[in-house]
């Protein structure tokens, strides 16, 4: 049944968004600008300096672009989880539980925000620019890495989103906590992680596996040594980390949903 329902649901969501063209266009542009925000920050900083944490402007842009693309895709599919507190507070989560479908996919399909493609395309444009302007010794494996990195990254962000939003089952008003982790890790991963202080790096790069979204794959692409001392093959492990993160997220979600109590009515 699920294989028929989800495509239909998604199709309906997409059509409904495209029916207000002007509003959609404005939203789309806003998303492109939102993506350009951090880009401008990087460009402004580089009017004052030549290297950040030992990386040149184009190298930082490469990390930013990987992070941005991955975040945009994750936001497209998992951003809806930001509405979870409303579902829980109003008791509408009961409705999801009553349907014979998974709760998580239902929320994910509840609102595929097509305007997020604005964010993704902004990031992809920078990715193209950065890839053309950094020195990379291309091999078939590296081409594969360029394709796999945003996909693995979006799975990692998606997992982070699920875990962070699961907190709302305990703290109903926990959305801002969750956003500190989700949006925070987007800001975090847009820069080389060796600029951060040790505790912050430890948490945001390895507990939340943000370092595998952009930093390590970029190092592997550039053929650069990690200033933090991890070996070079780490840059190729992002898909594994993504699979692991998704598994953990699935478990956390199950545990969290079991904790849910309807408001009754």
């Amino acid at each position: 049944m699920a294989d028929v329902i989800y495509p239909r649901l998604i199709g309906a969501r997409l059509r409904s968004q495209l029916s207000y063209r002007a509003s959609f266009a404005m939203d789309f542009v806003t998303q492109v600008i939102a993506q350009c925000y951090e880009l401008l920050v990087i460009l402004i900083l580089f009017t004052q300096i030549h290297a950040l944490g030992g990386f040149t402007k184009n190298e930082v842009l490469l990390m930013y672009a990987f992070a941005g693309t991955a975040f945009g895709v994750a936001d497209l599919f998992a951003g809806q989880l930001d509405n979870l507190p409303t579902y829980i507070r109003t008791g509408n989560f009961d409705v999801l539980l009553m349907r014979p479908l998974g709760t998580l996919p239902q929320i994910m399909c509840s609102d595929i925000r097509l305007r997020r493609i604005g964010r993704i395309s902004g990031a992809l444009a920078v990715l193209g620019y950065a890839l053309a302007n950094v020195p990379i010794g291309w091999t078939p494996a590296k081409v594969l890495l360029v394709i796999a990195t945003p996909i693995a990254g979006s799975v990692i962000y998606g997992a982070v989103w699920v875990v962070a939003c699961s907190i709302c089952f305990w703290i109903v008003d926990g959305r801002e906590f969750a956003n500190a982790v989700t949006y925070g890790s987007n800001a975090f991963t847009s820069y080389p992680i060796n600029v951060y202080s040790r505790p912050l790096r430890w948490f945001m790069a390895f507990v939340v596996p943000g370092a595998f979204v952009a930093y390590y794959p970029s190092l592997a692409l550039l053929g650069k040594q990690d200033p933090l001392g991890l070996p070079g093959w780490v840059g190729w492990t992002s898909p594994l980390v993504a699979a692991l993160a998704a598994g953990v997220a699935g478990l956390v979600w199950r545990f969290a949903v079991r904790h849910y109590r309807g408001t009754g009515s």
Partner: protein, 240 residues
């Protein structure tokens, strides 16, 4: 409240790290900002963000869309004035729970640049309050745009994604290229965040900064008043 504070602290930590790395690459100082001034900038800025409330909740716009705004309009008050009073009250609370905690966090854990003179403290407070008034004024304008747009979420989103950069939340405006700096200081945006931070740090001429802020606060409120009057004239009350 606690959640908002956490967000401020997390983003503060991220910003401090990136800006500190930039300073390190520039041999310790960029445009009057050394490491202590940068930390101060970030923590005061993160605190002010919740105090001036750069990003509102678009509640008034929703009331315009649903028609509930009629109730607000037929009360015997000046809507803008009443909401401003409400916002100043919110600011009093936010001062304690949003502005003070990140600032204290920064003071205790990072090298911090305290004002060189005692008189800078009251001036900073004054500057912050004027910043709050300007921020309210802009939010009010964005929200009542829905009298014309009906759905103002595009404009609201646009303001939310651009204001951080324009107001000097993420990168000090002093780091911008010269032309951008000059253009920005002609706009009201730095008045909402960068100006009070500058007053705190003692950057620039404090009298000039305050006059600049006062001018824009008054101008924005005046525009808001005028726009509201125009809006009220076109409100049609359905049914009874």
């Amino acid at each position: 409240m606690l959640a908002g504070m956490t967000t401020n602290v997390v983003f503060g930590l991220l910003r401090v790290a990136v800006l500190a790395a930039a300073l390190k690459a520039a041999n310790g100082e960029i445009a009057e900002y050394d490491i202590a001034a940068t930390n101060t900038y970030v923590w005061i800025g993160q605190g002010l963000l919740g105090f001036v409330l750069l990003w509102g909740n678009n509640e008034l716009a929703e009331r315009v869309r649903s028609g509930d705004v009629v109730v607000d309009l037929y009360r015997p008050w000046h809507l803008q004035g009443a909401l401003l009073a409400e916002d100043v009250g919110r600011g009093g609370y936010a001062f304690l729970v949003r502005l003070a905690p990140p600032a204290v966090f920064g003071m205790l854990l990072f090298p911090f640049q305290f004002p060189a003179h005692a008189y800078q403290w009251p001036l900073f407070l004054m500057s912050a309050v004027i910043a709050l008034v300007s921020s309210f004024g802009i939010r009010f304008l964005v929200e009542i745009s829905s009298f014309w747009l009906i759905d103002n979420r595009g404009l609201y989103g646009f303001w939310n994604v651009t204001s951080g950069l324009l107001c000097g939340l993420t990168v000090p405006i002093a780091f911008f290229p010269e032309w951008a700096r000059e253009v920005l200081w002609l706009t009201p945006f730095p008045a909402m965040l960068q100006a009070p931070i500058d007053v705190f740090l003692g950057h620039g001429n404090v009298v000039k900064l305050l006059l600049y802020q006062l001018f824009w606060a008054a101008a924005i409120l005046a525009v808001g008043h005028f726009v509201l009057q125009r809006a009220v004239r076109k409100v049609v009350v359905q049914g009874g």
